[in-house]
Each structure stands twice: as structure tokens, then as C-alpha cells.
Amino acid sequence: MAKILAVDDSASMRQMVGFTLKSAGHDVIQASDGAEALKLAQVNNIDLVLTDINMPIMDGITLIKNLRTLPAYRFTPMLTLTTESGTDRKMEGKKAGATGWIVKPFSPEQLLATIKKVLG
């Protein structure tokens, strides 16, 4: 199964996402902000990145921009988790190199369906 990096500053969201992904048999690495995620990404081979956008220290957009400059992550799927219903932030994420997005609130089932879609 895939190794997934899940980034969110909210502990309850991390718990929910982590638990859901693990239940589906994925290997989950968690970080509470972009900077921590960036460090973890450099020492792990991540197959998929799920990141919140609004986070302290380093936001999700900057994280994706930074990850895309790393040779290992040029083609890795990266999804933003966003509550913005407007298209602005989704597009901002895309511009930074995000593959797509998942709109909060989402159910564990919706999360797994989207991930299955991305990982094939």
C-alpha cells in the first residue's frame, strides 16, 4: 500500500485522516505544519501528499512549492485539503503544483475514494 504524508495543524483532523488511511492499509506519516512535513518528506519516500492549506510556520501552498523543487517529488501526487468553497485557494494550490484538492468537510469514505482515484 502507499506511503502517505498527511499534514494538518488540527490534531483532530490528523487523527481522523490518519486513522482512516491506516484502516485502509496505508502507511501514514503525519506532520502538523509545512516545515515539519518538508523535513519528513526528505527522509521518506512518499507516494502521496495530503496537506491542509492554512497552517502556522509554513502553509500548504509553500509546502507544495518547496516539495516540487525536490527531484524526488516532481511528479508525486499532492492534494490540498481545503474548506474554501471559492476557487481561489484551490487555484493557488494548483499554481503551486498541487495535483488536486479535497473539499472539507469530507467523510472517511470520500477521502478513501479520492485517494483510490489518485493512486489508481
Binding site: 495543524d9 488540527s10 490534531a11 483532530s12 483532523m13 487523527q15 481522523m16 486513522f19 482512516t20 484502516s23 485502509a24 491542509d52 492554512n54 497552517m55 502556522p56 516540487r68 516532481r74 511528479f75 508525486t76 501526487p77 499532492m78 485539503l81 474548506t83 468553497s85 471559492g86 476557487t87 487555484m91 494548483k94 503544483g97 498541487a98 495535483t99 488536486g100 484538492w101 479535497i102 473539499v103 472539507k104 468537510p105 469530507f106 467523510s107 472517511p108 469514505e109 470520500q110 478513501l112 482515484k117 489518485v118 489508481g120
Partner: protein, 685 residues
């Protein structure tokens, strides 16, 4: 698969309440007119997280309310709404409403809908009606079901792979919608030597038949919108070019719960055993037990230190174990070294474990900026609150218990201490009064000081009131300390007008009692027209006590050091026996009852003559007494073991501890002992 979301509730509530505190302190520090963008961002992020979490966990009412707040904060962030006192006030009220809503959801009680609607409407009124409507999420309906033969031309821009997208994924998704066929167009493929394997050169023509709406197809291409040329059309019509403006389709939100449904949180049960919370509608369930248990956040440093210490302990243990296997006289010195090391390890380990319970006092301080702001607005005083030593650590239980007394003292400073701006000006002071909270460690204590630069305590007013209440007589000559101490007497209030803030005279005595119960002390310093300072001293923790070991017969008892005033040898001439059994000792110009511990605990001892033993003068709940003991032993820190949980409550004894030689020693409850001896005297008389 179904996942029981209730297992994440506790974390959600904890982080949400933390978020609310962060929002509140952020809002209080916002400068009207020129708001610091970082602060606005922090407030926004907190609201954003609460909204995200409450939506995910099905607390729809909370999510809806937070959404409006978030929209307003977003406008503040974008500078389209300026920060005014009114907006800050409204947002602070919203924080209160949100806190109440979350508490209601957590405790499964009713949400105060009236107030929620009132504040929400006020928030919406601040926002333009248009922006609220456009940002609310809508579910796009599907068209009437008829089989349509779609033709799609998809030509990704060459950089598509660098976004992590893959045409194959899109085709798989499309093929799930209906009858799918695809033709690949390779005409743009360059010669092999010119080919960059990281770029996309292909385009595809797709046929898709089925009961499929255009929105469904667009949704599949949602993530690559803007990264490709895309034409979606039916076989009979000219394909429509939709490169630039693909309709955005919102992902359907989970079925919303009504407020009343939120109360029914399923009990925490293993995965897959319970349906998702949204499905549980009629089954009334109890609150998850996990939500009742207080949890504590511990920094990784502390845990690391602990693990480190345990490692050391294991090493020492194995060293001693080895020594024990082949012990002879030559190795005695090594054994002593080992034991010394073990002692050091144990002490460090104990300290580390205690530190886990320690939290910075900022947790208790953080409610004050808001309180001071609200109070000073309410009573028309200008007050600046200064907080110092916020990182000073204190036991979590102590923190919770000291919070209310602190609130009372700060209210007092604001209400009684600080003068009105005009009075201050007349007294040659700045119009703005200063209330300062300061915390620091001193010896084994935590000291919390509440000071103000107000009018100070008027000796004359206090003594006048005390005479009126019959607490002292006119002929009494009192020190400043004794006068100020009168404030802590039950029912004592000098406020001319009883306000709803303070001045009802209940409180200061309760404050003192609460602090004493925590093993602490409180003291007042004041200078007329310069201000007052209230000094609270608390032990670092409730689990360990600094004790004086005393001997009575063959027993050892422990007197808490904080309650000891002095110890002295008895001069026979100073002792008066009055009314039968009771003995009174004249300590300077004060008479204190003597409590013979060997009598209180029915212990046989050779020391029954007062001149043979010692008197330990103790104070408990404002009463002094002399404990008659055989001898004083050492002083040491003792770990308090509860008698209630291990045995049963015993009058005059607050707990027990185990001494180094393995014997149990009782820890004396000074207040209880004094009460006990008074009852005995009454019975004897």
C-alpha cells in the same frame, strides 16, 4: 467501511477550546485601525480549523456559525473590512457563543439558539449580504436521466505530469461513468531524440455513452482545469470549447445534521461496530467516557528527559544487580557508589515525573485580558493589564484551583483598587491604571503577585469597619499586616456601593480559605495612594510536601512546614492551666492553646512534662496553637499518600507517607487538630 467518528471528538474539543483561547487573546491584542496581519491570520486559522473540524465531525450548527465568523475574518485579512472596536467586540461575543455551542455539543445539552442566531445575524449584517450568499456551499443537482453520447477531446498542456496528474486516472474515472472508448492522437509526438520524457505530447478523443450529465464529466477534469484543452460535446452538436471556464462543481457535503441530532453522539466503540454518527438518529446514547477524562499535553522534551532518566535507572539497576551476585568486602565501596547513583536517579526521575503535571501559568492568566477589558468598559475605568512570568510552571490541579481566587483578586483590584480616570488625574497619576500579574518561582514555591497602582488600602477605613463589626476593639493596636489581614475575615466589605463586580464581602475569606487548602498562603501589602499588592505563595505541587518530622513517643509525625511559625522550649511560667484540662501558653502578647499530641493520638510517651518537650507553634485557618511534641527530627520532602483512598478519613490527619526506613508516618492536618482539641476541651469542660 465505516469509521466511528466519535473517537476523534475529544481531540476536536480540546483543540477547539485552545483555538478559541487563541482567538480571544488575538482579538484583544488587535489594534483598531491598523491590525497586525499575523495576528489576524492566527485568529483566522483558529476559526478555520474549528469550522473544518466541526463540519467533518458532523457538528453542523457549529460549522455554520464559524463559517460566518471565518468569512468576516477573511475580509479583515484581505483588508476589505477594517478593524474597528465594534467588529472586535462582535467577534469576541462570537467567540463566547462558539465556546458555549461547543460546550453544549460536548456535554450534550441544548445550544442557546436565540443568542446564536442573534450574534450570527449581527455578523452577517457586518458582511455584505452578497458575499455571504456567494460563499455558502451548494450542491449542484444532476440533469434528467437520458442516455447521451458524449465526445470529449482532451489535450493536456505539456507540463501536466508535473502537477502529479495522470491521464490514465482520468480515463479510469470516466470509464466508471459509462460506456467508454478512447483514441490516442500521437501527431504531436516529436522525434525520439527530441523527446523530453517529462513532458506530455499526446491528446485523446474520447467517446462516452450513458446517463451522464456534463457536470459529472467536468468534475472528472476538475483538477486539470486550466492545464489542458478540453472540449466536451455531444455527437450531434459542435463540441463546445471549455478551456477557460469550466463550471466548478462543489463536492457534495455530508448529509447535514440538525442541532438536536448533535446531542446524540454514539458511545465510543470499536471500529465498524457502530454506524457513522450521521446514521444514528433515534438511539439515545450516553456521552463518550473518553470525553470525561482530563488529558494533559506534555512537551516532547519532558518525555525525552523521562525516558533518558529511566535508561539511567536501568543501568544503575543492572550495575547493582551484578555487584549483588558477587559481593564481598572489597566491593563495598562500589556498592555505596551504586546506591548513591540510584538515589540520584530516583530523585531526578521523581522530579521529571512531577514536571509532567506542570503547565505554564499562562493557562490561568489568559482569561484576564478579556476580563479586564470587559470590566473596565463596564465601569468606565482605563486599565492596562500587564502579565509577567507567564511561562512559570505550576501543577495542573493547582492551576485549576487557583484560577477562581485569582479572578476574584483581579476583580477586586479593578473595582476597589484603581480609581476613576478623573480621580487619578486629580491625584497626579496617569489616567490609565495598571494592574499587574506576576508569577515566579521562589524556593520550592510559586509566587503569584497581583498588584495595582490604585488608591491602596485605607487603614482607617478598615479598622473603622472592623470595630463596627466587632472584630477588634478600639483599644487594639494593630500592625499594617494585621489590619490588612482583616480583609480576609468572613463578611468583611468596605465597598461603599455594592457593585455586581465585587464588594459583597463574600469572597476574600473564601479566597484565603481556598489558597490555604492548597497549602499556600496569601499576604497583602499596601500603601495609601500608591497601590496594593497581593502575594500568593503556593507549593509547586500537591503531591509532595515539605515536612518537619516530629517525634511523639515511638511515633513519627509530619507537620507541613508551611504551617509552622516557630518552635520553642517551654518556660513553665508562661503556661496557664484554665478550666480543667485546657492549657494556654503565653507567647509574647498572645495566648495560644497547647495541643498535647500524645493525648490527641493516645500515644504512650515518657515526655509528659511540658518543660521536657518542645512546642511547635502552628497556624491553621487563622488560628494559632502550640503542638506539644517530644522532639523535632529532620525536615524532608515527603510524598503524600491519601488516607481516604487507602484507609478512611481521620480527623486531624491529612494523609500519610512512607519514610526511608519503610515505616508509615501520618501527616498532621493542623486546622483539623486545632478544631479537634477545642472540641475535646469543650467536652472536658
Amino acid at each position: 467501511m465505516s469509521i466511528d467518528m466519535s473517537q476523534f471528538y475529544q481531540t476536536f474539543f480540546e483543540e477547539s477550546f485552545e483555538g478559541l483561547d487563541a482567538m480571544e487573546s488575538g482579538l484583544l491584542s488587535l489594534d483598531v485601525g491598523a491590525a497586525d496581519i499575523e495576528t489576524v491570520n492566527t485568529i483566522f486559522r483558529a476559526a478555520h480549523s474549528i469550522k473544518g473540524g466541526s463540519g467533518t465531525f458532523g457538528f453542523t450548527a457549529v460549522a455554520q456559525f464559524t463559517h460566518v465568523m471565518e468569512t468576516l475574518l477573511d475580509e479583515m485579512r484581505a483588508d476589505t473590512i477594517t478593524v474597528t472596536t465594534e467588529t472586535v467586540d462582535l467577534l469576541l461575543k462570537s467567540v463566547d457563543v462558539l465556546r458555549d455551542m461547543l460546550t453544549a455539543v460536548q456535554t450534550e445539552t441544548e445550544i442557546d439558539e436565540e443568542r446564536t442566531i442573534e450574534i450570527q445575524s449581527a455578523l452577517e449584517a457586518l458582511l455584505s449580504g452578497e458575499s455571504v450568499a456567494s460563499s455558502s456551499e451548494e450542491i449542484v443537482g444532476t440533469e434528467t436521466p437520458t442516455v447521451i453520447c458524449w465526445t470529449i477531446r482532451f489535450k493536456p498542456f505539456d507540463y501536466l505530469f508535473k502537477t502529479g496528474n495522470d491521464p490514465v486516472r482520468i480515463f479510469q474515472e470516466l470509464s466508471e461513468l459509462g460506456d467508454f472508448s478512447v483514441v490516442c492522437n500521437t501527431e504531436d509526438l516529436p522525434l525520439f531524440e527530441m523527446l523530453d520524457p517529462e513532458l506530455s505530447y499526446l491528446s485523446w478523443s474520447i467517446k462516452l455513452d450513458g446517463v451522464i450529465s456534463k457536470e459529472q464529466i467536468s468534475e472528472v477534469f476538475d483538477w486539470v482545469d486550466g492545464d489542458c484543452e478540453l472540449e466536451i460535446g455531444t455527437e450531434d452538436q459542435v463540441p463546445e470549447k471549455v478551456v477557460a471556464n469550466l463550471p466548478t462543481v462543489a463536492v457534495p457535503v455530508p448529509e447535514p445534521l440538525s442541532c438536536s441530532d448533535e446531542k446524540k453522539i454514539p458511545e465510543s466503540t470499536p471500529l465498524a461496530a457502530t454506524p457513522a454518527p450521521a446514521l444514528v438518529k433515534d438511539k439515545p446514547t450516553k456521552k463518550s467516557t473518553a470525553a470525561d477524562q482530563g488529558s494533559i499535553r506534555v512537551s516532547i522534551d519532558k518525555v525525552d528527559a523521562l525516558i533518558n532518566m529511566v535508561g539511567e535507572l536501568v543501568i544503575t539497576q543492572s550495575m547493582l544487580g551484578q555487584l549483588g551476585e558477587q559481593i564481598d568486602d572489597d566491593r563495598l565501596e562500589k556498592l555505596q557508589d551504586g546506591l548513591a547513583q540510584l538515589e540520584r536517579n530516583t530523585r531526578e526521575l521523581q522530579e521529571s515525573v512531577m514536571r509532567i503535571r506542570m503547565m505554564p501559568i499562562s493557562f490561568a492568566f489568559q482569561r484576564f485580558p478579556r476580563m479586564v477589558r470587559d470590566l473596565s468598559n463596564q465601569i468606565g475605568k482605563e486599565i492596562e493589564l500587564r502579565l509577567q512570568g507567564e511561562s512559570t510552571e505550576l501543577d495542573k490541579t493547582l492551576m485549576e484551583k487557583i484560577s477562581d481566587p485569582l479572578v476574584h483578586l483581579v476583580r477586586n483590584s479593578i473595582d476597589h483598587g484603581i480609581e476613576t480616570p478623573n480621580d487619578r488625574e486629580a491625584a497626579g497619576k496617569s489616567r490609565v491604571g495598571i494592574v499587574e500579574l506576576n508569577a515566579f518561582h521562589q524556593g520550592g514555591n510559586v509566587v503569584i503577585e497581583i498588584s495595582d497602582d490604585g488608591k491602596g488600602i485605607d487603614r482607617e477605613v478598615i479598622t473603622g469597619k472592623a470595630i463596627e463589626k466587632g472584630l477588634i476593639s478600639e483599644s487594639d493596636i494593630l500592625t499594617d499586616e494585621q489590619v490588612f489581614d482583616l480583609i480576609f475575615s468572613p463578611g468583611f466589605s468596605t465597598a461603599k456601593v455594592v457593585s455586581d463586580i465585587s464588594g459583597r464581602g463574600v469572597g476574600m475569606d473564601v479566597v484565603k480559605r481556598n489558597i490555604r487548602e492548597l497549602g499556600g498562603s496569601v499576604e497583602i501589602q499596601s500603601k495609601k495612594n500608591e497601590g496594593s499588592k497581593i502575594i500568593i505563595r503556593l507549593p509547586l505541587t500537591l503531591a509532595i510536601l515539605d515536612g518537619q518530622l516530629i517525634q511523639v513517643g515511638s511515633h513519627t509525625y509530619i507537620v507541613p512546614l508551611v504551617s509552622i511559625i516557630e518552635s520553642l522550649q517551654v518556660k513553665e511560667s508562661q503556661v496557664n492551666a484554665i478550666a480543667g484540662q485546657a492549657e494556654i501558653y503565653k507567647l509574647r502578647d498572645e495566648y495560644i492553646p497547647i495541643v498535647r499530641l500524645h493525648n490527641s493520638f493516645s500515644v504512650n510517651t515518657d515526655v509528659t512534662q511540658l518543660t521536657d518537650g518542645l512546642i511547635v507553634v502552628v497556624e491553621g485557618d487563622g488560628q494559632r496553637a502550640g503542638l506539644f511534641v517530644d522532639d523535632l527530627l529532620g525536615q524532608q520532602q515527603v510524598v503524600i499518600k491519601s488516607l481516604e483512598t487507602n484507609f478512611r478519613p481521620v480527623e486531624g490527619v491529612s494523609g500519610a507517607t512512607i519514610l526511608g526506613d519503610g515505616t508509615v508516618a501520618l501527616i498532621l492536618d493542623v486546622t483539623g487538630l486545632i478544631k479537634l482539641s477545642r472540641q475535646e476541651r469543650i467536652v472536658a469542660a
